[in-house]
């Protein structure tokens, strides 16, 4: 399997997916060699059947390029070069591993455009069937798609034997790239129940910190696609009706300066807390504090954080344009542009203990059905189909 990131070096759903999926597959007795750009060592606890093989050194994360053309030009060439370097080194590493261990790989699995060129090379070098997963497309990541990346994605969509999309929504986007619909399969992400369902923070500590205030949470990259701007506009409306409410914005991204000045010009800066990047451990704590989780994304291929929040027992308000809204029932869905509706639902959730309680209970039940075990089973089915078994 060809990946780009792995905990603790994670900046998006791609890393979580690769980590959880490889573990779940390994538990099913599948042997996986996971190639990733440097830093893989020490990243993961030992799992039998899973070897992490660092193949190239790069510190570039998949989401570093952004919608502002200036910034992209700076990182862009480096990133493309890194992707190419990773592809070449993956090819030679795969050849080396195959020769050294005398093992016969059954399938090569690439994730997103970052590892797509590597997938193509490995598949040719070892004559393997290629499975390509799309966690997002360039259309989801930016309003100004970059032609070089679109080119790689189009090629990947055409080259792969089978394509996995993380939602029907993403499937549609990949079809836009020119993929043959007969090659498309949908495998939804899961959530690690144990990680989020247990209380990591005592109720007393939580209540002590909140002092009666309600907490509404945003967690994600601060980019246009994740909808933090709508979140602040909705916050302004909620605060008109419920002045003490606290709005937490967790995550970093190019919109941070804009959001900070926006919170000031809206006159709500006292009630908005920017947390910056939060670690895995802190993320779990934050969920425990939240009375509502809002995912106002304008374009969300899946949205694993919604499952994490539900798993933690937090009532969730989701944008309709998200993949996760295809799998969960116990969430409130809104149009990302409908600030009034969003604010109204937030108000209702934080004001009605009954609603909060029912959503929390049913959300946990929903999330329990979304397991990585299931995702691994379905991925395995795709492998078997690709390998003709």
């Amino acid at each position: 399997m060809l990946g780009w990131e792995f905990p603790p070096f994670v900046s998006g759903g791609l890393g979580v997916h690769c980590f959880e999926l490889t573990r779940a597959l390994a538990r099913k007795g599948i042997e996986i060699d996971f190639f990733m750009p440097g830093g893989g060592d020490g990243a993961v606890q030992k799992t039998e059947g899973l070897r992490v093989i660092p193949v190239a050194s790069s510190e570039l994360a998949p989401y570093m390029f952004v919608s502002k053309r200036g910034m992209r030009a700076g990182y862009g060439d480096n990133l493309l070069a890194a992707v190419e370097e990773y592809a070449k080194k993956s090819e030679s590493a795969a050849l080396r591993e195959a020769w050294r261990t005398q093992k016969k790989y059954d399938v090569v699995h690439a994730h997103d455009w970052l590892t797509a060129p590597a997938g193509e090379r490995v598949r040719k070098a070892l004559s393997l069937p290629l499975v390509q997963t799309f966690h997002s497309t360039e259309f989801d990541r930016t309003s100004w798609p970059w032609e070089a990346i679109l080119g790689i994605e189009r090629r990947a969509a055409c080259e792969a034997n089978l394509i996995i999309a993380v939602s029907n929504r993403t499937r549609e986007q990949v079809l836009r790239l020119g993929a043959d619909y007969r090659k498309m399969r949908v495998v939804y992400n899961g959530v690690d129940q144990e990680k989020f369902s247990e209380g990591k923070v005592g109720a007393e500590a939580v209540n002590g910190w909140k002092r009666g205030r309600k907490v509404v949470l945003f967690l994600g990259r601060l980019t246009e696609q994740k909808g933090p701007v709508q979140f602040l506009h909705a916050a302004k409306l909620v605060l008109e009706k419920k002045p003490g409410t606290l709005f937490m914005v967790a995550g970093k991204g190019e919109l941070l300066p804009l959001l900070i000045s926006m919170s000031m010009s809206l006159g709500i800066s006292k009630n908005v807390l920017f947390l910056g990047y939060v670690s895995d451990e802190d993320q779990r704590r934050i969920y425990k504090l939240a009375d509502a989780y809002v995912m106002p994304s304008t374009s969300e291929p899946f949205g694993i954080t919604a499952l994490e929040a539900m798993s933690s027992g937090v009532p969730v308000i989701l944008s309709k344009t998200s993949g996760v809204s295809e799998v969960v029932k116990a969430a409130i869905r809104v149009d990302f542009w409908d600030i009034n509706a969003m604010a109204q639902k937030i108000l209702a959730v934080i004001s009605s203990p009954t609603l909060g309680k029912v959503m929390s209970r049913l959300g946990q039940r929903d999330a329990r059905l979304c397991t990585w075990e299931k995702a691994a089973d379905e991925t395995l089915k795709v492998y078997k189909e690709a390998a003709g078994k």
Binding site: K241, K329, A331, I332, Q344, K345, S352, L355, V358
Partner: protein
């Protein structure tokens, strides 16, 4: 063997999307007239008008054919507002003298479940008055969604009813057949008409189900099933929207209905009766005992479709708590609004049962989720509470 056919006819008054950020939330109506009109016009065109036309034809062609209905007051009000020809077509059926219109609560409400039963009784009286405009009042009662218990039977018996509809539930009947009339424990002679849910659902649910081993169902096959039954009567009750709405015209449901009376007529052992005729002619075989409220809704066949979760119960108790304040104001418009907010449908939309039943709730719901249903309802109710205080 008497065949008793009965159809439930109802359309809820769906609420408008209420906004707490509206400019003047108090000025608008709580009800979504556009949506309600659209639904009424659609269902009138697909179901009510064509089915009534066919019924009239069948009643004219087959002098032995009889059917019965219950039309909710909320339905009749919406007919008047959006589709008056539907009322005329029901009135035409009534004129044949072989169509019975049963008694029920005007607002298709859960009012029996209020601690104080006065509102329940008032709504029954309102409904009787409404129906008597075009048909003779019936001596048989049908509570909202066939809600039934010993206590309900006892109460309506005291109001003068001689018969009451109920679901023919296995746990109430035990080894006994639904195809007889039963007395009710603790009552003094009121007769319970029990729905034969298997035969009713063969039409209501399974008619167009391709997975069903009996698919396709013809009138001839169905009549032969009925003629092989033993018992005094068979009660086939369902939603009227079965025709043309739940099963579209292209499933052949209208053809089924068209041939049904003729197929029954061919079999000497079968004849049609209205509920009142059953109650007058057939004696009881035994008593049934229903200490808890049963209904025909969902798999559970109890009140959990409306009061199964905390949101539903909170909304229901909040509504109930407004009864006193509303009635003190002696304002007809306020009272009517409060009663409309008591449509059982509002609570049905808040149901969170999963699996197949939730799909039925979703199918009928104008909301995206039960949570949205609860939020909107509570916002409206809170606004309404303000109106009462101001009045």
């Amino acid at each position: 063997m008497e065949i008793c056919i009965y159809f439930q006819v109802h359309q809820p008054m769906r609420l408008a999307q209420y906004s707490v950020f509206g400019q003047d939330p108090n000025c608008g109506s709580y009800f979504d007239d556009d949506l309600n009109r659209k639904v009424m016009e659609k269902v009138a065109g697909k179901c009510y008008l064509p089915t009534n036309r066919l019924m009239l034809e069948l009643l004219e062609k087959h002098p032995e054919f009889k059917v019965s209905y219950s039309l909710t007051g909320v339905f009749l009000e919406q007919c008047r507002m959006f589709s008056p020809q539907v009322i005329e077509s029901f009135a035409a059926l009534a004129k044949t003298g072989r169509v019975e219109f049963l008694s029920e609560t005007y607002y298709h409400s859960l009012s029996y479940l209020f601690a104080n039963k006065d509102e329940f009784i008032e709504q029954i009286k309102l409904h009787r008055k409404e129906i008597s405009a075009f048909a003779a009042p019936s001596g048989v009662f049908r509570n909202t969604e066939a809600m039934f218990s010993n206590d309900i039977a006892y109460l309506v018996e005291r109001l003068g009813y001689r018969g009451i509809m109920a679901e023919g539930l296995d746990h109430i009947l035990g080894w006994r057949s639904p195809n007889y009339l039963y007395g009710v424990k603790g009552c003094n002679g009121i007769k319970a008409l029990l729905r034969n849910y298997r035969l009713s659902d063969d039409i209501g649910y399974r008619f167009s189900a391709k997975w069903w081993s009996e698919y396709p169902l013809t009138a001839e096959k169905y009549a032969s099933w009925l003629s092989s039954l033993s018992g005094d009567c068979v009660n086939i009750f369902m939603d009227y929207e079965t025709f043309g709405e739940h099963h579209w015209a292209d499933t052949g449901i209208f053809e089924f209905l068209r041939h049904f009376p003729g197929e029954i007529g061919k079999r000497g052992s079968l004849s049609f009766s209205t509920p009142s005729e059953l109650v007058s002619r057939i004696g009881i075989r035994d008593d049934i005992d229903a200490p808890a409220v049963t209904s025909w809704a969902d798999m559970e066949r109890d009140t959990s479709a409306w009061l199964g979760n905390e949101m539903q119960r909170e909304a229901f108790f909040a509504l109930e708590a407004l009864e006193g304040p509303v009635k003190e104001r002696k304002d007809e418009a306020l009272l009517r609004t409060w009663r409309m907010l008591g449509n059982s449908d509002h609570f049905y939309y808040m149901c969170t049962k999963s699996l197949s039943d939730q799909d039925v709730h979703n199918y009928f719901s104008p909301y995206d989720s039960p949570f949205d249903a609860y939020i909107n309802y509570m916002n409206v109710l809170r606004d309404f509470e303000g109106r009462i205080k101001e009045a």
